[in-house]
């Protein structure tokens, strides 16, 4: 299971990089189209603004998973009250 977690951590990191490139590429494609409307600009700018931090979070999640931070043996007690 720990090996699977590591593999998926790597996959999520690669996916995050791919998405970080894909989103601005799609937005630019839309902005360059002849049929572009004002609504497209607002929509895509909001999408990129909100998704880039989420993608960074996804990459970080993959990084933690790859480093075994979610593995059984890495148990670290979160401070509870």
């Amino acid at each position: 299971m720990d090996l699977l977690r590591k593999i998926f951590g790597l996959i999520w990191m690669i996916t995050a990089v791919f998405l970080a490139i894909l989103l601005p590429y799609l937005a630019l494609g839309k902005f360059r189209a002849e049929t572009v409307t004002q609504e497209d600009y607002v929509f895509w700018i909001i999408i990129i603004t909100i998704f880039i931090p989420i993608i960074i979070g996804f990459m970080l999640f993959g990084f933690y998973a790859f480093n075994g931070n979610y593995n059984n043996r890495q148990v670290s007690k979160t401070k509870t009250n």
Binding site: F8, Q38, V42, I46, I54, N69, T78, T80, N81
Partner: protein, 510 residues
């Protein structure tokens, strides 16, 4: 059976008071948030005339920014306050902000009277609504969970989970009733009946504030306050410390993102799909959704309750798995129910179709209505509106299609959507308890609010837009829009299955 560690846990009668106070307030917040969406067409006429580019720009901002940017931001702002000042006063504040802004929207004169001030003020108030909604849910879920015995947390918090659906019901009910009482013309006028659902919020929120004021602070928060262990900087502690940040990320990518897309697919995309792709008649499609929600919503409480016995993870992940496997077969069945190619048309005695032509040259337009009936009881109505230029040359052609299903197909469609609502119940019923248990009391409000609102507001809220975009790609089939919820739910299922691991973190009852 985990022992009940919080001896301050409230007695049953008092606990139901806590649930009622929290649920009524959250329901009203959802009601306030939904009436804006449900009355979008009228608000657009009154505040955002589409032929004016600035007003149209503000309209787009109001639509997207309130859900996608401001909601998560509200989760941070009010989450922080809730972890410092307490749950009670924070979610009281969100309720007042939501009610106040909704009431104020009902008082703003239209664009025709005050020009750009109208869309600008509505935009600001809509953003306040988004901010308040971002702060409400985490507070209500935390407040109820912190009053509940550990072994019944799933059951008691599931009542908070039903409020989103009930808020939608209430908003549709109030709008339909007001419309009926006021009449169509009086309803859509500048100072017409459409304002009543907004103004009504003042009284609804007033009642809820009155009830909530009587409630005491959550026992767990009071305890850490008395001990002096309240977090001084919940944002830094939630997102700056790796041990907590990794759980926030797990909550988002292992649970709430998948839950968000399943929630929106079952309750909103299903309606969009019926109206836009299947061309089901407007009123009939709303009845179908309403009945499916009525059948499916009690299952939220059932699965919340069951999660106390069998665990949260198994139920949520099973809901995601079923959605991933069954979405395409379900939507394929839905599509076939309204596919006129599979039906036999009744030809009238003259051997021709029923065609009604009405020409309105005064408006530079002509209408043509085609009515068809089928042997299974299905009816089809197509209205073509041809607009003409001043020189009487054809300009735009608008075609409206409306399929009214037979009784048998109607109930089969209700069943297909109710199944989707049951998937929603599986992922949504236990999730409040799941999130609450993932984080310690001192940073719970902040830590659970953000992943919830990103999962629901962003991943879920985008479902209709992305799904429709996918189907509009050249060569795409009507079912291709489902790849978005299927893809996100699959990512979440894998993440949840592999990484939600009770051995790698401790929860409050451990």
């Amino acid at each position: 059976m985990p022992k009940i560690v919080e001896n301050e846990v409230t007695d049953k009668k008092k606990l139901w008071g806590v649930i009622t106070a929290s649920s009524v307030g959250t329901l009203i917040e959802w009601y306030d948030f939904y009436i804006f969406g449900s009355l979008a067409a009228i608000l657009s006429i009154q505040f955002f005339p589409q032929d004016n580019p600035t007003a149209a720009f503000l309209s787009t901002l109001a639509t997207f920014a309130a859900g996608f940017i401001v909601r998560p931001f509200g989760a941070l702002v009010f989450g922080r306050l809730g972890d410092i000042l307490g749950r009670k006063y924070t979610f009281l504040l969100t309720l007042i902000l939501m009610g106040g802004s909704t009431f104020a929207i009902g008082l703003i004169p239209g664009y025709a009277t005050i020009g750009y001030w109208a869309p600008a003020l509505v935009l600001i108030l809509r953003l306040v609504q988004g901010l308040a909604l971002g702060g409400e849910y985490g507070g209500a879920a935390t407040y109820v969970a912190e009053h509940s015995p550990v072994n019944r947390r799933g059951f008691y918090t599931s009542f908070i989970q039903t409020t989103a659906t009930l808020g939608l019901f209430l908003s549709i009910g109030v709008i339909l009733l007001t419309r009926k009482l006021a009449g169509e013309t009086n309803f859509i006028a500048e100072w017409g009946g459409w304002r009543i659902p907004f103004l009504l919020s003042f009284f609804l929120v007033g009642i809820s504030v009155f009830i909530r004021l009587k409630m005491k602070e959550s026992p767990l928060f009071s305890k850490i306050k008395a001990e002096g262990t309240i977090s001084k900087n919940p944002l830094k502690e939630s997102f700056g410390k790796k041990e907590n940040l990794k759980m926030v990320l797990l909550a988002l990518f292992g649970a709430t993102a998948g839950q968000g897309v399943i929630w929106y697919t079952g309750q909103f995309y299903a309606l969009t799909f019926m109206q836009k792709t299947m061309n089901i008649e407007f009123v009939q499609s709303n009845y179908i959704i309403a009945l499916a929600l009525l059948i499916g919503t009690p299952f939220i409480i059932f699965f919340g309750h069951w999660s106390d016995t069998v665990g949260r993870k198994g139920i949520m992940l099973t809901g995601m798995l079923l959605a991933i496997i069954l979405y395409r077969p379900i939507y394929s069945q839905m599509l076939s129910l309204a596919d006129l190619k599979n039906k036999t048309e009744i030809i009238n005695q003259a051997g021709t179709q029923n065609i009604k032509v009405v020409l309105k040259h005064s408006n530079h337009s002509g209408n043509q209505t085609i009515l068809k009936q089928y042997t299974d009881g299905t009816e089809y109505k197509e209205t073509r509106t041809q607009k003409f230029t001043e020189q009487q040359k054809p300009a735009s052609l608008e075609i409206k299609k409306a399929v009214t299903l037979s009784s048998g197909s109607f109930w089969y469609l209700v069943l297909l959507i109710a199944i989707q609502v049951i998937f929603v119940a599986m992922v949504y019923g236990p999730i409040a308890a799941f999130l609450v248990e993932l984080f310690p009391t001192r940073i719970r409000y902040t830590s659970m609010s953000l992943p919830y609102h990103i999962g629901n507001g962003v991943f879920g809220g985008l479902t209709p837009f992305i799904a429709i975009s996918l189907t509009s790609i050249s060569g795409a089939s009507p079912l291709d829009g489902l790849w978005y919820p299927i893809g996100i739910a699959s990512m979440c299922l894998i993440t949840g299955f592999l990484f939600i691991n009770k051995n790698s973190y401790t929860t409050i009852e451990d």
